[in-house]
Amino acid sequence: MSDLLLSADQLTCIREDRILFDQLSFEVTAGELIQVEGPNGAGKTSLLRILAGLSRPYDGRVNYKQQDITQVREEFYNDLTFIGHLAGVKSELSAEQNLAFNLQLQNDDTTGLEQALDQVNLTGFEHAPAAFLSAGQNRRIALARLWQSHSKIWILDEPFTAIDKTGVEKLERLFIHHIDNGGCVILTSHQDIQIGAQRLKRITLDYNFE
């Protein structure tokens, strides 16, 4: 494999004495779109947070380009964009200020904020505090970042939540564009993704009651 970006190595996650997944290993290379599937409570969010280094697995490790992420934190985070259940949008700041701050933290390009906001249909709302926007518009502020992101690895926990249909389509096109350019996307979603099956890799988690 030429372009191995991220690999999970024997990950085990135990929550409240329940084994969510055990010795889970997989690899993510450039050009892959991975959907983590499973019913509610299967452990998707837990897996994504472990992959992003936000929580520690009970056992096993996560490697970024063959190196443990806790060793190469700075390089890894420079190459990672994570959007979780919480959007990371400050309700006091405007859409534009929020986006600029998030991009700067990530060493991303902050020219062309307006185009990015236009992509997520927030033209006209750039300067209103996020508190004045709807649930979906708040998620859109967080997602606008993706259009400016230079990082290869995108980890997205239910990115389509609260987004309307045209928005979902636009996001899907962006994902394809991203993996075509050598990136990878790891996401969860309970909605079906309209991307050709050959491009989509699935990781299925299930209740481990056996």
Binding site: A52, G53, L54, S55, R56, E74, E75, Y77, N78, L80, F82, G84, H85, L86, A87, G88, V89, K90, S91, E92, L93, Q97, F101, N102, Q104, L105, Q106, N107, D108, D109, T110, P129, H150
Partner: protein
């Protein structure tokens, strides 16, 4: 990809953002100050208006009020960031955590410490503080309030993931505030009696240097643990 940010840029970006948020929430700028004023007026009301007693206890009251108003405003340091997910984003940023944390603490001090220092002379007037103790009061506040913000931030970082919030926090950090309180009031009382107080100030300054160097790392580590 853009040029990575320098330390200084990261610092100023985070600082400006926190100040912007506070200015939008107009209240954030004035409220710690007003709390300070109100707490100080509670004491004469509770204790009685007699001038002598007030003069005796004025340094203690001013410092206890400063401590409590720092405490009450601390919550906002990380709690809001935690509950809207932007703390998570900071932890996932390639920028060094201790710098971002340091900028946040500085913003907190600018918004609580400085107003308190500016208002203190007026309140000292209300409490009829000895005239020659004003200098010592200002000096101890200037050196001491940053320590309150720095140490307080450690406590907030530790409790940020916990629902209970407020009261647990005070339990954690008030004991750590005690040395500052003792030396600061000691200095003011010495000044009121016309004694030298540079020794006390030196100790507070030493505490400040210690807090400045160690606290940002402690805060960063605490954040990583409590957002797990």
């Amino acid at each position: 990809m853009n040029q990575p940010l320098s330390y200084w840029q990261t610092f100023s970006i985070v600082l400006m953002r926190d100040l912007k948020v506070a200015v939008r929430n107009k209240g954030d700028v004035f409220n710690p100050l007003i709390f300070f004023v109100i707490v100080i007026t509670l004491f004469p009301l509770g204790i009685g208006p007699e001038g002598n007693t007030l003069t005796r206890i004025a340094p203690g009251i001013i410092w206890v009020a400063a401590l409590l108003s720092a405490l009450l405003s601390l919550e906002r340091l990380f709690k809001n960031d935690y509950s809207d997910g932007s703390l998570e984003q900071m932890l996932l940023s390639p920028q060094p955590l201790f710098i971002m944390v340091f900028a946040k603490v500085l913003a907190h001090w600018i918004l609580t410490g400085i107003p308190i220092i500016l208002a203190a002379p007026l309140l000292a007037l209300l409490l009829q503080l000895e005239t020659n103790a004003y200098g010592a009061m200002l000096a101890t506040l200037a050196l001491g309030t940053p320590i309150l913000s720095l140490i307080g931030a450690i406590g907030v970082a530790l409790t940020v993931g916990i629902k209970k919030g407020g009261v647990l926090l005070s339990l954690l950090i008030l004991p750590l505030y005690i040395p500052v309180l003792i030396f600061a009031t000691g200095a003011i009382e010495a000044a009121a009696l016309g004694l030298p107080y540079s020794g006390h100030l030196a100790i507070i300054a030493a505490l400040l240097v210690g807090a400045l160097t160690l606290a940002p790392f402690a805060i960063g580590a605490a954040l990583r643990v409590s957002t797990n």
